[in-house]
Subunit: 343 residues, 4 copies
């Protein structure tokens, strides 16, 4: 079927390509003309303006937006007047699910259908397919099934089945194909939000572990002796110069902690075990934060997911004032002076 | 080659079977005669006592101990007098690596070699193979290579290679086969310890995420209004009855958080989405604790791994007195009374 | 001056009494007639309805609401039509500061002034005075100064001055008297919110510490030996039966951790060192949650304050499903069974 | 009575002065001659060597060591041969209680008594007195009571009594005077260790809260819009430029979170609300770490105390490699590039 795609960045462009390779047609639009041109060469129908874009779509139109969360509402304001009763807007980006609920209610008054799709898979999605978590009305979601089925990996056998997943349990569910209608408006982005919250936790667990491995040689270093520095009681226990790259590789083989994130880590550590191209300033792009806020609303404890998020905040220096307060207190009660960094 | 196995529980028994299926021979011993008999039927040489066990081993003897960490030293005390210069003891269980360092030094004086092997793979290892993290002298580790190569999964192609892992980088390393000589005595169990620390963090990340999903319907419940209870400001955002089993399934397909632990979770949730057979009292078996202690010695922050460990402590009620202190304080400054559980 | 008080619970009633003792007059209203009658006996003017209450107030009316956050908006809906241009509403309860901003804007259209007052001090406030954190327009806040000055402790010398607080720095500030105009609408409750967030962290720090003290005797207990239980390597280090009550007392004397919360804890532990009247189900009343949400919006890491909040969630069993997921995973990969509680 | 003091740094020197002001005599020794000379001028008996020091002490000698934990054992090795049966060694520094247990057993064989004293109070102790937590044999501790009673603040009425602390409960206890015999060898440093663990948690709770206050103006800043940056949904909620110094002052007056640490914080914030003299590299001096290790041995969850400790580790850059791993993973799955710091 035909899809209109607004937003031809890394994700949007790859999705259009995956769709076209599998027999769908696409009308595309982006603020950057080059992005449109690139996809045009691959077979997509380009458009010179939002109005032109809309005019090229068959009714009921299906418009997929793949944009940074911060500009979706702005784009919607321009798009909505161009659409008609029965058209469909899909937000496949990383919107907050609160926005989905608000937009769906607003669009309903105009007869426009809204579907929120949480999309996971990153730059590998073009080949592997995307995991799609979908929220919206059942009829609209079913109408778009051919698109979802193509974007998703499909149950092609590369992933083993879940033994306890009987046919009865799975009846009518598309989860094995890699897309799932999770519930009403917002449910798709809600599930994607939690997915990313988990992702932060998983990443931090590996990162902390590799950091412990990397410092297993501290007993080989000379330590200072003063009242400000904790003596290392047993240097004999920290004499290991471990090969973190090879350890990441062996863990990929039969261990309990195998995962795709570990595969990626192994790859990065093999390229450079010191990861010296990275300064360690880690961004967070919204879902991790929203997961914690939702957990708190629910009264559900999420200490691991929060710790992972806070680590990112601190990596960007957002703990600086708190640390200054600590140093000020220490100076206050103990006359302690800060120690300069060891060169 | 021949291996002697002491400790024929879940792990030890499966390892013997995997070895025998691939052409090795085994002499086995356990406190439970039935366990010996069961393996005898499968082709192992049984033994009636520790002395009998030792007498049946070819020199230099290779004795693999697969025992709870708490009884290893006791068993060693009985075993050592029966061994000779040049024999090898392998501790494949979950010993603290401090103990490895101590034991290796002690055994060296008697000319006995010691190898510590962290073993991951659980009940699936019999089929999948075990991920082996090895510490000890190079010559001894190499002598045992045939055993390790059989127990490990092997580079059979079911796990894709790591793109950046060039032949040069990997020269001489067996990591792709699923076993790795990590360093001197204790290095194997050190790496396994951190592996398990990571495992705790990964598990908790998923568990917290699924808990957030499960409570996405709190807006459908009636809330109390009193000064002790936080009102849910926006019940309209928590109206989702999510199918956690199907969500775990879709996440297995192309998402960033695919992993073996997720596969297992999906299986459990398909068997019973409410997991009602579990009370939620979660054991911890040592390595998670030791990882934190090592991290603290190193001065490496591990907030995620710690939070995961503490969650297990709390699941067993070990936070009770702390919570009573909190309730006592609240009564003290605010006259707050504890609210009974909602039925 | 005259104040009207709606909400005569623990806090509202005590505040009226403190005001009247110091020469102010009060008109009071509550849903419970008995509460009105009790204060009437102490000199307050009672009222039979909200309309009656409003009619007895001098213009410009100053109406102080001391109600559970969940019912403030409902009460406001009834109150507003009875008020006039120039009247003042003070919310002294625990409202979310978002609500302050919304209400102030709404009331401004009717010419009604709104002041948000975060109030700390609990049941001791009647004698000690209340710490007041105030948000609103400067003129309105100054108009109410006599009320604030009476409710606050006052700079009576029982609290020592801050050495670095020069007269210049403090010019025009009432902080030393125990009340502070923190900023525009919502600033009072924002500061109170963070105050409570800190309070949660402080309380948890003490609670965890006392829990560590209480279990300093675990080496005296007999431990099980199995693969599910971590052996205690050094029971000789945990042989202390500590007197937590006496320790709390000595810490009150010259230590770095002296505080009012410690005073309260010492009192509770002296009444019963086992705190057996408390089950350890700890409520949270909103501000702790909102502090974390604000911190996350700001990108400020608050691992300590979050951990304190999550501990309360877990104390009420909200981590149950997460723990069941953990047990299910452990059963999945290791065949581990849950261990029942030790009797 | 007479005390011998080894270690005349900030703490040791002040303690000698406090003792001498109250009628005790002191023999002093330090590696720095100037420190000895300074106290000599104030009335102490100096000594030219450890042997000279010991020779000037009356039997049974009472030698108080006030040294960095890392050099105590070294000093003991030199001291012990100079002492006799019946002499007493007091370790008033921050030794690990494990070391106390070991040393006491070793000294017992020589007939020398050992007492461990955890000392809190910092640079203010000279005037305020020190809170003393004591471990050792009852007879020895009682013998030293006159020293402890002088060093401690004493029950002089500046600290109010604990209402529930009845005479019966308190019989024979010196806790109200500010010193307490907590238990056998090591109990003093165990309790001091937990005291410091709590101290870390309290400090971090305040520090995090002040950091949230300080960033309450982020809505006034211009934000970037890209897929790497979370948009601030509601800038209108973060428009507060708060005066953290005045807030710290008002919290000292009648709030629930009054404490000595808050007093110190208020003082530092009044000197400079930006705390610009501090870089925010926060040391940790041992007890915080040991508290966590003990908690883990006990199976007691200490999420707040751990988070406080880890914040210090991260403030010194010890999380760098973990953060690099996170950035490498993000580059791997999403092609995300690190964003440089905002100037």
């Amino acid at each position: 079927m035909q899809i209109g795609m607004i937003g031809l960045g890394r994700m949007g462009s790859n999705m259009v390509q995956r769709l076209m390779k599998n027999g769908h047609s696409a009308v595309v639009f982006d603020a950057r003309a080059q992005s449109i041109e690139d996809l045009h060469k691959l077979g997509a129908t380009g458009s010179s303006s939002l109005a032109d874009f809309v005019s090229k779509l068959e009714k009921p139109r299906a418009v997929w937006m793949m944009l940074p969360a911060a500009i979706v509402d702005n784009e919607l304001t321009k798009l909505i007047p161009l659409l008609e009763d029965g058209d469909i807007i899909i937000d496949g980006g990383n919107s907050h699910y609160h926005d989905d609920i608000r937009r769906a209610a607003m669009l309903k008054q105009k007869g426009i259908h809204y579907v929120d799709v949480g999309t996971s898979g990153g730059v590998f999605g073009l080949q592997r397919g995307y995991c799609l978590m979908i929220g919206g009305e059942t009829a609209t979601v079913q109408h778009l099934s051919p698109i979802f089925a193509t974007l998703a990996p499909g149950a092609d056998g590369t992933v083993e089945g879940t033994p306890n997943r009987t046919e009865v349990a799975a009846a009518g569910s598309t989860a094995e194909q890699g897309f799932l209608h999770c519930g009403p408006h917002g449910a798709g982005h809600f599930v994607k939000m939690v997915h990313n919250g988990i992702e932060y936790g998983l990443m931090a667990a590996y990162a902390e572990g590799f950091n412990v491995l990397r410092h297993a040689n501290i007993g080989l270093q000379t330590a200072e002796i003063d009242a400000e520095t904790t003596p290392l009681s047993h240097p004999e226990y920290y004499q290991y110069n471990l090969d973190v790259a090879e350890i990441s590789e062996v863990w990929r083989r039969g261990s309990v902690i195998t995962s795709w994130l570990l595969d990626l880590t192994a790859d990065a550590l093999h390229a450079d075990p010191a990861l010296s191209q990275y300064a360690g300033r880690v961004s967070d792009s919204g879902e991790g934060r929203w997961t914690i806020s939702a957990a708190i609303d629910e009264g559900v404890p999420t200490p691991v997911l929060s710790a992972a998020l806070y680590g990112r905040f601190s990596s960007r220096g957002n703990d600086d004032f708190a640390n200054q307060v600590l140093s000020a207190m220490r100076a206050g009660f103990g006359g302690h002076h800060e120690k300069p960094p060891v060169k």
